[in-house]
């Protein structure tokens, strides 16, 4: 479980996060949504420690990340997995080596065990055949799946996904969503997804946090989105004709 208390972040005079408090529960896919510039990416980066919050608390199962020593942070980071918007795979390593990388760095197990574990993770994302290819030789969707395999290699307690569906076709996006959702359920991870994709919101949004100008504007589940009366949320989620019709039919 990850809890945020009055999280604020400013860049010089510009206040980007204006006191966000919420709870992301384990075993659930928690979605952060909002317009461009609403502070989603900054919030995600504050949670994982790529940005230092100006004030507030980030609690990982009660452990305050903001006040941790460097060593404690390093240790906690080994419980995190992250899938970046562009996958961020290491170009010079093969797919298998990419997945083995966190194991090579932190696991005390033998090479055979590490390789077997990496193969298992690749099987989990249906990429067994691409093990010896390089990131430049595979498609964007496959790169995302490799990133997921790498993120789960050390069985993380916390999984972060930054725009996992960006640049992917709708069918591949669904595959990625299903994969993240099933991993969340299987490993009971606390999963936080930063997304623009409304299909993800409707499909896997166990908990949805809507940000507006750096503030928590609305929070609820995918089932509650349909009946939500927040105007800003509705104009954001049901911006397209298709989703407006879906809502009208649902009502």
């Amino acid at each position: 479980m990850i809890e945020l208390f009055e999280l604020r972040k400013s860049f010089e005079d510009k206040k980007v996060l204006k006191g966000i408090s919420t709870t992301f529960e384990s075993g659930k896919t928690n979605l952060i949504i909002g317009q461009s510039g609403s502070g989603k990416t900054v919030l995600m980066k504050c949670i994982v420690g790529l940005f230092e919050p100006t004030s507030g608390k980030v609690l990982y199962d009660g452990r305050d990340f903001v006040r941790m020593t460097k060593k404690e942070r390093m240790a906690l980071r080994r419980e995190m997995g992250m899938i970046f918007q562009n996958a961020a795979l290491f170009d010079s390593l093969s797919v298998l080596e990419n997945v083995m990388f966190p194991l090579d760095m932190f696991s005390e197990e033998s090479y055979a065990f590490r390789r077997k574990r990496a193969q298992f993770c690749l099987d989990r994302v249906n990429l067994t055949d691409a093990a010896h290819k390089y990131p430049g030789e595979i498609s964007g969707g496959m790169q995302k799946r490799v990133a997921i395999a790498r993120a789960i290699a050390l069985q993380p307690k916390y999984l972060f996904c930054d725009e996992p569906n960006s640049g992917l076709d709708p069918k591949t996006s669904l595959v990625i969503d299903d994969l993240i959702h099933s991993i969340t359920l299987d490993f009971k991870t606390t999963t936080i997804i930063n997304t623009h994709d409304m299909n993800s919101v409707m499909g896997i949004g166990d908990n949805i946090l809507y940000l507006y100008e750096g503030r928590r504007e609305w929070e609820g589940s995918k089932d509650e989105v349909m009946g939500a009366e927040n105007e800003r949320l509705n104009s954001f989620i049901f911006a397209s004709d298709l989703f407006r019709k879906v809502k009208e039919n649902a009502i």
Partner: protein
């Protein structure tokens, strides 16, 4: 204002170096990277070092023979001057300036690309000290390989000089050998090696700094690469002046 920005950059550089010189998380990964970097930055540069040094050695020998030698000069002067130039300046300083262009831009663009494609963020999220993991093997690899390249360069330059004697018949091999052996001071060889160690540190650390601080996209990576080469070259020239004074 300019001074403040230089001081700020120098401060950032020192902080990065402090992070770089920390104990590697996993020595087996460090060795793997170290060997890879020695091959990529050092072994892959051997060809160009040998080629340039060979021709420069040959050209120095011809120039000295044709323009300096006279009836008042001993016959061995071409060999002597070729050896001294190769040992004292070309193989250490000028070769490192050339390597600053080749290796420095390689380091800055590689690390810069990793920064803009979030590969460095991925390392940080995993709890890895990205500066130490990426920069330390490059730095130690360069410190290992550059002195070797200096030795190869000097040898290749001397072979180039012999080529002018045996193939070009510009001077006799006996006169060249006499010049190369005349009044040899072993310290000059070590001076080149010591200077090259400093230059190796400058090339790798400055280029890594420019790559690591990149923000933006491909344009910024290109700019960082150029800045790395320019700054490394300037620092090599300045430090050459001080080191030559200090070591002579």
């Amino acid at each position: 204002m300019l001074l403040t920005s230089y001081l700020h950059a120098f401060g950032e550089y020192l902080v990065l170096m402090a992070r770089t010189f920390s104990r590697p998380e996993r020595f087996r990964m460090f060795w793997k990277q170290y060997v890879k970097e020695m091959a990529q930055l050092g072994v892959d540069s051997i060809g160009i070092v040998l080629l340039i040094s060979f021709f420069i050695g040959a050209v120095i020998c011809i120039q000295i023979k044709l323009n300096i030698e006279s009836a008042w000069m001993p016959k061995w002067v071409s060999g002597y001057v070729t050896r001294e130039i190769m040992l004292l300046e070309f193989s250490s300083s000028i070769m490192c300036l050339i390597l600053a262009g080749k290796v420095g831009s390689n380091i800055a663009s590689e690390i810069g690309t990793m920064r803009v494609t979030q590969q460095i963020d991925a390392l940080e999220i995993m709890g890895i000290n990205s500066a130490s993991y990426l920069i330390l093997p490059k730095l130690i690899g360069m410190l290992t390989m550059i002195p070797l390249l200096v030795v190869f360069s000097t040898t290749s330059g001397i072979i180039g000089a012999y080529a002018t004697a045996y193939i070009g018949h510009i001077l006799t091999p006996a006169h060249l050998t006499e010049g190369i052996q005349y009044d040899f001071n072993q310290w000059y060889f070590w001076m080149g090696v010591v200077k090259s160690v400093f230059f190796a540190f400058i090339i790798s650390s400055v280029s890594a700094y420019y790559g690591y601080r990149v923000k933006g996209g491909s344009v910024e990576v290109g700019k960082a690469s150029t800045d790395a080469v320019v700054t490394s070259s300037m620092l090599i020239l300045f430090s050459d002046l001080f080191l030559t004074q200090l070591l002579s």
